[in-house]
């Protein structure tokens, strides 16, 4: 919630990247799950192979990539991007005075 309400302006790009990769992760997981379920129910061997291929490639490219990027919310290195400690402290105090946190 701090990331949403009480963040410095310089964190916007990080939040945008984090949110977009999270959407990719959830969307790709949906594809993997639905394709795998359909493959498990299908009797046509060609269709099963195709659906398993779709699930595998989506998992490999999007789920793993999206997952590994989305979990990097605010690593320690973000302080270099987010400005100095006084700037962050000032942003937090502003957010606190507005009742955000």
């Amino acid at each position: 919630m701090l990331a949403i309400f009480g963040r410095p302006e310089t964190w916007n790009w990080l939040l945008m990247f984090h949110v977009l990769t999270a959407f990719v992760l959830v969307g790709a997981s949906l594809v993997v799950t639905s394709a795998s379920l359909m493959a498990a129910r299908s009797a046509d061997q060609n269709l099963v192979t195709m659906l398993r291929g779709v699930a595998f490639r989506t998992n490999l490219v999007l789920v793993l990539l999206g997952g590994s990027l989305a979990e990097k919310e605010y690593p320690d290195e973000s302080r270099h991007l987010a400005g100095s400690m006084p700037e962050r402290a000032s942003a937090l105090s502003q957010a606190s005075s507005r009742g955000y946190c």
Binding site: M1, L25, G27
Partner: protein, 180 residues
């Protein structure tokens, strides 16, 4: 157990409103955004996979799977809009934001535009799905008409433009231009 008198229901509603913080309303708004954009990602992945296939049964299966992301997009669009407007309406709980802020009005306008584009693009894919279903039970032979529908540049342009517009809404929600 009979129906509650109206005054009791109103009081329950008031109690619920008092118990719900801005974070609770925001979490529903964010859940809607997740459904909306994650559904769009899933739709694009399946649509791109279908465009690379020739057999109608394969195309029918992949486009059939798009029903789940389409439902997620519809539910997410409604949740994000409804709880977003509610968040702006309860301005005493979320100070400084009102429904008449330019960035909120722009986001609502873009929401309408994105849904109109997505709806028109999806209509072409629905047509492709219906044709693929028919061809799959009728010999499962490749068809130029089906290929043209699945690889339609117009449909692709409409759905990608719709997703691009939703990303623009996300940019507005994060940067909040003009907000105090």
């Amino acid at each position: 157990v009979g129906e509650l008198p109206p005054e009791t229901t109103a009081s329950e509603w008031a109690k619920l409103r008092r118990r719900m913080s801005k974070y609770d309303w925001l979490s529903f708004h964010l859940l809607g955004a997740v459904f909306f954009l994650a559904g769009a990602v899933a739709f694009h992945v399946l649509q791109l996979c279908a465009a690379r296939r020739e057999r109608p049964s394969e195309i029918a299966s992949l486009l059939g799977l798009t029903r789940v992301p389409e439902l997620a997009i519809r539910v997410g669009a409604v949740l994000a809009l409804a709880f977003g407007i509610w968040l702006a309406y309860v301005d005493k709980e979320v100070p400084h934001y009102t429904i008449t802020d330019e960035w909120i009005l722009a986001a609502i306008g873009l929401w309408v535009f994105a849904n109109a584009l997505g709806e028109r693009g999806a209509r072409i894919y629905h047509e492709a799905r219906a044709l693929a279903d028919r061809l799959a039970v009728d010999g499962d032979a490749a068809s130029t008409q089906l290929r043209a529908l699945v690889r339609s540049p117009r449909a692709a342009m409409l759905v990608w433009a719709s997703t691009g517009t939703v990303v623009a809404i996300l940019v507005l929600m994060i940067w909040k231009p003009g907000a105090p």
